[in-house]
Symmetry: C2
Subunit: 592 residues, 2 copies
C-alpha cells in the first residue's frame, strides 16, 4: 500500500490548529505568506509520495549493507537522496549565510513528517544532519563553519551525532572516549561509539561526525565532556577532500526495523587516531548537545506521527476493500467492506485521532521554537522558549508511543494479512518501535518533564499552558453545538486532571523524588492526552469557522477523541497521585 | 536470555488463586492430588526450560523452510518434538480410551504456557493437534477414531485446522472449498486454504487435516459447511501409511514472527482430488468446530501469557544487570542497576502484574471448562460451562493484548539493546503480535463477549461472576490490612464499572446493536482489568493465609495492579457507555 501525503491535514493543522496563520499575518516570519507555505508543503508532499514512499519496502528488504568498511544503501536510495538535495529540501531551515533558506522550524517539521512517512529509515538521516548543522552553527569556530557548514546545509555532506558507548546510553557521565591535543589546535580522538545512525553510507562523499569525548585532563562525569568535529575525510584548504580519517564503521546492528538506516559501531582512532576539532568550549560538550536536543527530540516525535499516518492510510485502504460479514438482509454469498463494522470504525478512528493529536502537539512545539527565535518582544520569546521546552518531551514521547500503538492497531485491522510482511503493515510496527527509544528514551522524557520542565519559570510555563487549554474548553462550552457531544465536559475533566497531577508532582518532587518519578510516565501520557484533545477541539472550532476550507470531520474527530480517549485522563491522574507506594514496594514482587 | 519456567507462580495460581486445590480435595478429578499436579508441572517446567527454550532463537533465525513441497523444521526441532512426545507431553488431556492421560485442561493449559514461553512457534503446533483430537473424539465415526485418534493423542501424528480461504477469514460464510461424494463413503475435496498452521512439516510421518468444505448440494452460508478429515497419507487397514493424498503445501507465509511455525497455503485436490471423510453430520461442520473453539481460543490466550512471562524475565534480568545513573552521593564513574529507577520499576511491575493477571484469567477459564465436564452436580456443570463460555473471549483477547503490550514494554526496558535482534526482546514482540489475530481476532472476541456471552443464562452467568468478584472485594475490605493500600476501593470501582457497562450493553444491544458493538473492545478490556485485579487480590489473600508457601510479593503485586492499572476501569465504562455516537459519526472523519 502506498502513501499519499495528507497535505490538507498538515496545512490545516499548521495554519489553523497551532496558529501559524496568525504569525504570518503579524509578520513574525518576514514576508513569508500562507501561499508560499502551502506551495512548499504541496511540493514536499509530492516528493514524499512519489519519490520516497516507493523506496520504503526495498529499504526494509535489502537494508543497508556493510562490506570492506563501506556501507551501501539500498537500490535507488542514493539517487533519491541526490534528487532530494538538488530540490533544496536539505536546506529549508539552514542559516542563510551558509546557503540555507532560513524557513521556520514548524514548516520544516511538517516536511520532515512527510519524509518519514515516506520512509522512516530515510527521514532519520537528514534529521541528524539538521542537528549537526545546528550545533556547528551555534558553537563551532568561524573556520570550522566555513569549511563544513555550507556543505552540510546543502546536503552535499551529512552529519552524525556520536554519544552512546556500550557502557553509556542514557547515562552520558559514563562516556570514555578520549581526546588528546596535538598542539596544532586539532585533537586525536580514540574510542568506540555504538548506535551511530547513518555513521557510514554512500549518500555523500564526506560525513561529519560530532563526537562527545573527554580531554586528557577532564573531570569525571558529564562536566568533563567536550564536543569534537571528526570528518570522515579531512578537508584541504581549497575545500577538496584530503586523506581518509581514522574513523571506521566496524559493524551494523541487526535491527527490528528501519533496516535501511545504517546503525553503526564506529571506531575512532583504532590506528593512528582520528583527527578532530573542538566545537565550543572544553568540557562544555553537553551544553553544545543541549542546543540541538530540543529540536532533535521534536524531530523524533514527528517520526511517531509520520509512521502513524502511514499505518492509518494503509489500514483505511484495506478496511475499505476487504469484504467480510453481512448487514441484515444481505445474501449469504455477499459481504460488506469491513469499515462498516463498528469495531473496525473504532480502530480506524482511534488511529486517526491519535495521529492528528500528536501531529498538532509536534507542530505546536515547533511553532513555539520558532517564536522563541523570531517573536518581536523579548518577553514573548522567553515565554515561547519555555513553552517549547515544556512541550518537547511530550512531543517526543507521546507521539512515538502512539506511533507504536497506531501501527499495532493497523496490523490488527488487517487480520491475518497484517502479520504477513508483504502487506507492509508489519513493517510500520517494526520501524515505529525505535522512536520511543532513541534520542532519549520515553522514560527519560517523562523524567525530564517532571524534573526540569514542570518547574520552568517557577511553574508559570505549565500554568500558562493550562490556562490556554481552558480557553479552548470554554470556547467549546460557549458554542454549545450538539455535534460536539460531551467534548467540553470530557476535556474540562482532562485539563483538571493534568493540573491536579502536576500540582501533586511539583509538591512531591522536593520531598519524595522517587514517588514523583514513579508517576512520570503516566503523567506524560496524561499531558499528551489533554494536549491532544485540546488541539483537536481547537481544530474543530477552526473548521467550524472556516467551513469549506477545513478537512471534513474535524468536529467528529475531536468528539471521538474527547469521548473515547480523553476519559483516560482522570484515571492517569489517579495513577500519578496514588500509584507510587506500590511502585516503591516493587522490590518484593520483582524478587520472586 | 534464557527462560526459566516460573513453576512456583504457576502452581500457586492454579492451586490457590483459581482454586484447583478445592476441587482436588472434593475429588472432582478422582484420585489426582496436589503432589502429582506439582510433580507434573515441575517436570514440564524442566522440559520447557532445558529443551524448548534453547530452540527459540534458531527457530526465529532459520525458520521453517519449504522445498519440493516439503517443509523442514529448524535444526534440533524435530528431535525435540520426538523427546517431547516420548515423555508423554502430547497425551496429557487425551481420552484414556485412546491412550491419553485424561488429565484436567487446567493442568494442560499450565503446561501449554510453558511450551509457549519456551517457544511460541513450537507451542502452536501441539495446540492445533489438541483441537483436532477434541473434534475427532466428539464427532467422528468409530472407524475414523480407531484409525486416527490414538496416533494423534500420542503425538505420533499431528493435526491441523483448515478454515481460512483468501476471501474468507473472520467470515466463514464465504468459504468455497468443495467436497464431492465418491460413493464409497469418502469424498474428494478441492479448494485452497490459507494461513494453515503446521500444514506441512517434518515432525511426524503423517498429518491429519480437518477441513471445512461444502458438499455439492449444500446451502450457502455457514449452514452449508461440513467438516472433513483429510490425511496427508492415506492409511492402510493395518494402520500403516498408504498412498500420498492430493494435499500439498504450495507456499509458506513470510511472517513478522513465529518463523518456525510453518504457515501454509494448502492446495486440496489440485490433481486427482484430496480424499477425505466426513466428520459429524453433513452441513454441521461449524458445530463441530464450535466444540473445540473454546479450548482453542483459551490455548491462544495462554500464548499471550507465555510470551509476556518470557518478555518479563528477559527485561528483569537486563534491568538487574545494566548500570546507568547514580543515586545521590555516588561518584560520577559509578552507576546503579537500572532496576533502582522508579520508572523502570513501574515498567517491570506493569509487565509482571499484567502477566500474572492474564495467567489467572486463563487458568480460571480452564478450570471452569474442567468443572463443566467433571463436576458432580448437573447444575454445577452447567454453571461452570456458562462461566467457561463467558470467560473464553476475555482469556483469549485480554491475554493476547497484554502479551503484545508486555513484549513492547520489554523492548523499552532494554533501551537501544531492545531494538537489536540479538537481544531477543524484539522477537518476543514479533511473535506476540500474531496472537491477537488468529483463532478469531480480538475484535471478534469482543463482539462474541457482548453478543453471545453477556446474555448467557439470561444474564445470570455474568451476574454470578460479578457476585464472586464482589466477595473478593469484601474480603479485602474485611482484613483491612494497610499493605493492601487502596486495593479494596479501586477494585470495588472496577467491578462497579464492569457491571454498569454490562447493564448498558445488555439494554442497548436489542435496540441499537451498532452502538453496543462500538463498545465491545473497551468492554472486553474493562472485563480483563476487573477480572485480573480481582484474581491478583484473591492471590494476595491466599498468600497472606499461606505465608511461606506463597510467592513473595503477592500483596504488593495485587496492590500495584489495583492502584496503577485498575483505575482505567471506570474510564473504560465511560467509553463503552458514552463513546458510541462518535464512533458511528466516523464516516465523515474517515472520509477526509
Amino acid at each position: 500500500m502506498s502513501y499519499r501525503a495528507p497535505v490538507s491535514d498538515i496545512v490545516f493543522t499548521l495554519r489553523h490548529v497551532v496558529g501559524l496563520d496568525r504569525e504570518l499575518e503579524r509578520g513574525t516570519f518576514g514576508d513569508l505568506g500562507a501561499d508560499l507555505v502551502e506551495a512548499i508543503l504541496t511540493e514536499a508532499g509530492r516528493f514524499a509520495t512519489e519519490e520516497i514512499a516507493p523506496l520504503n519496502r526495498i529499504g526494509d528488504e535489502v537494508g543497508a549493507i556493510l562490506a570492506d568498511g563501506k556501507v551501501t544503501m539500498p537500490p535507488g536510495w542514493k539517487e533519491a537522496y541526490a534528487r532530494w538535495t538538488k530540490a533544496g529540501w536539505a536546506s529549508l531551515t539552514g542559516p542563510a549565510a551558509f546557503g540555507g533558506q532560513d524557513l521556520p522550524t514548524s514548516l520544516s517539521v511538517a516536511t520532515l513528517e512527510m519524509w518519514n512517512s515516506g520512509s522512516m529509515a530515510y527521514g532519520i538521516g537528514p534529521t541528524l544532519t539538521l542537528g549537526a548543522v545546528e550545533a556547528i552553527h551555534a558553537h563551532a569556530s568561524p573556520q570550522l563553519k566555513d569549511i563544513f557548514l555550507g556543505k552540510l546545509v546543502s546536503g552535499e555532506w551529512m552529519g552524525t551525532m556520536n554519544l552512546t558507548e556500550p557502557q553509556a546510553g542514557s547515562d552520558l557521565a559514563l562516556l570514555r572516549t578520549r581526546a588528546e591535543p596535538r598542539g596544532d589546535g586539532s585533537y586525536l580522538i580514540r574510542g568506540t561509539k555504538i548506535f551511530i545512525t547513518y555513521g557510514e553510507h554512500d549518500f555523500t562523499d564526506n560525513i561529519v561526525h560530532l563526537v562527545l569525548a573527554r580531554l586528557t585532563d577532564a573531570p569525571p562525569g558529564t562536566r568533563g565532556l567536550s564536543l569534537f568535529l571528526v570528518p570522515k575525510f579531512l578537508v584541504q584548504p581549497d575545500g577538496s577532500l584530503g586523506p581518509r580519517n581514522d574513523v571506521w564503521c566496524r559493524s551494523l546492528e541487526h535491527k527490528l526495523g528501519i533496516h535501511a538506516s545504517p546503525t553503526c559501531v564506529m571506531a575512532f582512532g583504532d590506528n593512528e587516531g582520528a583527527v578532530g576539532w573542538l566545537v565550543g568550549e572544553p568540557n562544555r560538550g553537553l551544553n553544545c548537545m543541549f542546543t540541538m536536543m530540543n529540536n532533535a527530540r521534536l524531530c523524533v516525535g514527528i517520526q511517531g506521527v509520520a509512521i502513524a499516518e502511514r499505518a492509518y492510510q494503509t489500514a483505511l485502504a484495506y478496511a475499505r476493500e476487504r469484504r467480510q460479514g453481512r448487514l441484515p438482509g444481505m445474501p449469504a454469498e455477499d459481504a460488506v467492506a469491513i469499515i462498516a463494522h463498528p469495531d473496525i470504525r473504532r480502530s480506524l478512528m482511534t488511529m486517526k485521532a491519535l495521529t492528528q493529536a500528536a501531529r498538532a502537539i509536534c507542530y505546536e512545539t515547533a511553532l513555539a521554537a520558532d517564536l522563541a527565535r523570531h517573536a518581536r518582544e523579548a518577553g514573548e520569546r522567553e515565554a515561547a522558549q519555555a513553552r517549547a521546552n515544556l512541550l518537547t518531551p511530550v512531543a517526543k514521547a507521546f507521539s512515538t508511543d502512539i506511533g507504536v500503538e497506531v501501527a499495532s492497531i493497523g496490523i490488527q485491522v488487517h487480520g491475518g494479512m497484517g502479520y504477513v510482511e508483504e502487506t507492509g503493515a508489519a513493517q510500520h510496527l517494526r520501524d515505529a518501535r525505535i522512536a520511543p527509544i532513541y534520542e532519549g528514551t520515553n522514560g527519560i522524557q517523562a523524567i525530564d518533564l517532571v524534573v526540569r520542565k514542570l518547574p520552568l519559570e517557577g511553574g508559570r510555563a505549565i500554568g500558562a499552558y493550562i490556562a490556554d487549554m481552558r480557553r479552548i474548553v470554554e470556547a467549546v462550552a460557549r458554542i454549545d453545538d450538539p455535534a460536539f457531544g460531551a467534548t467540553g465536559g470530557r476535556l474540562a475533566a482532562a485539563v483538571d486532571a493534568l493540573e491536579r497531577a502536576g500540582i501533586w508532582l511539583a509538591a512531591t518532587m522536593p520531598t519524595d523524588p522517587d514517588a514523583a518519578l514513579a508517576g512520570a510516565t503516566p503523567y506524560l501520557r496524561l499531558f499528551g492526552i489533554a494536549a491532544g484533545g485540546i488541539a483537536l477541539a481547537r481544530g474543530a472550532l477552526a473548521a467550524r469557522a472556516l467551513a469549506s476550507e477545513a478537512p471534513a470531520g474535524s468536529v467528529a474527530l475531536a468528539r471521538f477523541f474527547a469521548e473515547n480517549i480523553a476519559p483516560e485522563a482522570p484515571a492517569l491522574a489517579e495513577i500519578v497521585i496514588g500509584g507510587a507506594p506500590s511502585v516503591q514496594a516493587a522490590e518484593m514482587a520483582l524478587a520472586s
